[in-house]
């Protein structure tokens, strides 16, 4: 019998029923929620007179709209009445329908939903995890089948604890070898997207394997799986191992006592069998991956830091040429400009991609005793959660950042998508540790270059991108 992939094991262990055409009803273990994609789902339940199926599956908190400063003001800094209404609507909905975990705005543990899930042990190997948010793929780092859904599906899960769907194709992305110092999980993720394209993973669930993946910390694996969706794959996966178990042990909602041993025994079976068949295998050599910087308006428009911005005249395909020309015009860049000559106005260190303690430590390492460059107007450092913030402060990282002239903020999604007050002005150029460089993503007319936390910190000091391997 042919071996099974990790994805198949996760899928098959959650099938409630299957139609003859392969459409399945899939049981959902964990339902993460935030304020933006849930109000219409709760409203739908109310209008139909339906109840929530299993409130203990819900972990929720507001993160997209919440401000990252002025928390001591009477309004908590939540000045926009439309944003306030959305945050209050989540409060009211959770109060009415219930949840396992809810951290309201300004709670000591509030943060980005994809950071607080794992840090509280509410994301576990072998689970199915969904959220009305495409970056739900993050939780695949634990060997959980985790993917983003729309609001109708949020409502479907609330009402039925299931989703209707068909199995994806399986892709294995194997990264073997050792990365150079200064090359991070973010660079591996961007290099993969550069290779397969933003639609390369469409229709696939991607498992990341190989020695370079095993070498990554849990934080690094979360960064990598987080970016799976930018390669078009709804779900990214890393098989759980000792690092996973070590990370989870003792966390509040992780199993304890006899259940822990039983769980670990099950989790150890959650890996692709030898001989398991993948529909597509992509291989990368870790040693050849350089620090990455995006130059355009799609994550696939990415280059090694030693590269030059592309010249559309050299592109033969008319569609692609038009795409390059449009991206260069939007980004205000000239063809053939060396990446390291691009000067920046702002820096953002944060988001569900790169706001965990390890990310902040890595950024701080570059800052110690240094100041931001004069041309850099603002550097925002936004921790992923209250827990991350306290840990960083206990280690003195906040002091390193503020001494360098950075702003140390309260947790939230912040300038990754700029739904709160943190945003770029038209034409401003930002080195950002977030996940999307789409037009207008960080503010209408804003220009985003996606990079690792190390590169963001180094660019804040130099005022432009630098090869952080040459210190």
């Amino acid at each position: 019998m042919a071996g099974k992939t990790l994805y198949d094991k996760l899928w098959e262990s959650h099938v409630v029923r299957e139609e003859s055409d392969g459409t399945c009803l899939l049981y959902i273990d964990r339902h993460l929620m935030h304020e933006v994609t849930s109000p219409q789902a709760f409203e739908g339940l109310r209008l139909a007179g339906r109840r929530i199926w299993r409130k203990e599956s819900v972990v929720a908190n507001p993160d997209h709209n919440t401000p990252t400063d002025h928390w001591d003001d009477a309004d908590g800094g939540l000045k926009d009445p439309v944003s306030r209404k959305q945050v209050e609507t989540l409060d009211a909905n959770i109060k009415e329908f219930g949840a396992l975990v809810y951290f309201p705005f300004k709670h000591a543990n509030q943060g980005i939903i994809h950071v607080i899930g794992p840090e509280n042990g509410t994301t576990l190997p072998g689970m199915t995890v969904v959220c009305g948010d495409s970056h739900t793929s993050t939780h695949g780092a634990f060997g959980a089948l985790a993917f983003g859904v729309g609001t109708s599906e949020v409502e479907h899960v609330l009402a039925t604890q299931t989703l209707v769907g068909k199995r994806s194709k399986r892709m294995l992305i194997r990264v073997d070898g050792k990365v150079s110092p200064g090359v991070t999980a973010k660079d591996i993720a961007l290099a993969i997207i550069g290779k397969i394209g933003t639609a390369g993973g469409t229709g696939y669930a991607v498992e990341f394997g190989g020695s370079a993946i095993r070498d990554l910390s849990m934080e690094g694996r979360m960064t990598l799986c987080n970016m799976a969706i930018e390669g078009g794959a709804r779900a990214g996966l890393v098989a759980p191992d000792e690092k996973t178990f070590e990370y989870l042990k003792g966390r509040q909602f992780a199993p304890h006592g006899a259940n822990w041993d039983k769980a670990v025994a099950w989790w150890k079976t959650l890996q692709s069998d030898a001989g398991a068949k993948f529909d597509l295998v992509v291989e990368l050599d870790a040693a050849k991956i350089e620090p990455q910087v995006t130059w355009g308006t799609s994550p696939e428009q990415v280059l090694p830091v030693g590269g030059r911005v592309p010249n559309p005249a050299k592109e033969k395909d008319a569609q692609k040429r038009a795409g390059i020309e449009r991206a260069l015009a939007y980004m205000g860049l000239k063809a053939d400009t060396p990446i390291q000559d691009i000067r920046i106005d702002k820096v953002f260190i944060g988001s569900c991609t790169n706001s965990r303690i390890e990310d902040l430590r890595a950024a701080a390492k570059y800052m110690k005793g240094r100041k931001k460059a004069a041309n850099v107007k603002l550097v925002l450092v936004v921790p992923g959660s209250g827990q991350v913030k306290r840990q960083a402060e206990a280690e003195g990282l906040d002091k390193i950042f503020t001494d360098a002239g950075f702003e140390w903020r309260e947790p939230g999604c912040s300038m990754c998508l700029a739904m709160n007050a943190d945003r770029l002005a038209p034409g401003e150029r930002c080195a950002s540790t977030s996940n999307r460089n789409f037009e207008g993503r960080q503010g209408a007319g804003g220009r985003t270059h996606l990079v690792s936390p190390e590169m963001a910190a180094a660019a804040a000091i130099a005022g432009h991108f630098v090869d952080i391997r040459k210190k």
Binding site: Q86, S134, N259, A263, S298, M419
Partner: protein
């Protein structure tokens, strides 16, 4: 959900690849707690010369005249013709809500991003995948003929051009059934509530920590 059976509609071409959901409906409009009213903000940054905010009166805003949705010949369009990887990025269902609220019922492209593709069906919007060669032909014909229309028939899964040429598209039987009848998927799933409960009990016995 509005059922979808048949549409004879005007076609609007959007000739760029990788159109993301941030472009379809920018983040500032996601603060609404409603499902409706997003149509005036569809493609907001490409469509208007100013920066849009929720609750603006869009009839008073300066337009970017070159953008397709602003061209007189495409007013009233119900079919959006697009390029590869349409709807990539965020999972926001506000994207199909905006598309439907504007008046589109069909989007034709060589490929779609997965989450957006699924979201369309939940909102009475039919996403049709056609080969790159067919999409190229539709773009050419649309540019050449003012008032270019296509006839989309879900029952026979066909799209027909004014010359009478047609192609067939794929859709799963389940999605077709829901769309043809405007069915509420939750109601259908709850018919299997006993099976869900039985699965849940078995799952809980095997992995009790998932239910802690």
């Amino acid at each position: 959900m509005k059922p979808f059976k048949y549409l004879d509609g005007l076609v609007c071409p959007l000739d760029r690849a990788n159109v993301d959901t941030d472009a379809i409906i920018p983040k500032q409009f996601l603060k609404s707690i409603k499902r409706s009213g997003f149509g005036p903000y569809l493609f907001d940054e490409w469509r208007y010369a100013d920066i849009g905010e929720p609750d603006m009166d869009c009839s008073q805003r300066p337009l970017k005249k070159d953008f397709v949705l602003n061209q007189p010949r495409y007013q009233g369009a119900q079919i959006l013709l697009a390029r590869d990887n349409f709807g990539c990025g965020s999972s926001r269902e506000h994207a199909p809500w905006a598309i439907e609220d504007y008046g589109f019922r069909v989007v034709i492209a060589p490929s779609f991003a997965d989450i957006f593709f699924g979201n369309c069906y939940k909102n009475g919007v039919l996403p049709i995948v056609a080969s790159a060669a067919i999409v190229d032909q539709l773009f050419r014909e649309c540019a050449a003929q003012k008032g270019y229309r296509l006839r989309v028939d879900l029952e026979t899964q066909t799209v027909r051009n004014p010359a009478g040429e047609w192609f067939r598209f794929d859709i799963t039987p389940h999605r077709k059934h829901c769309l043809l009848n405007g069915l509420d998927e939750i109601g259908l799933t709850l018919q299997h509530a006993d099976q869900i409960k039985a699965f849940e009990a078995k799952h809980k016995a095997a992995q009790p920590w998932l239910f802690a």
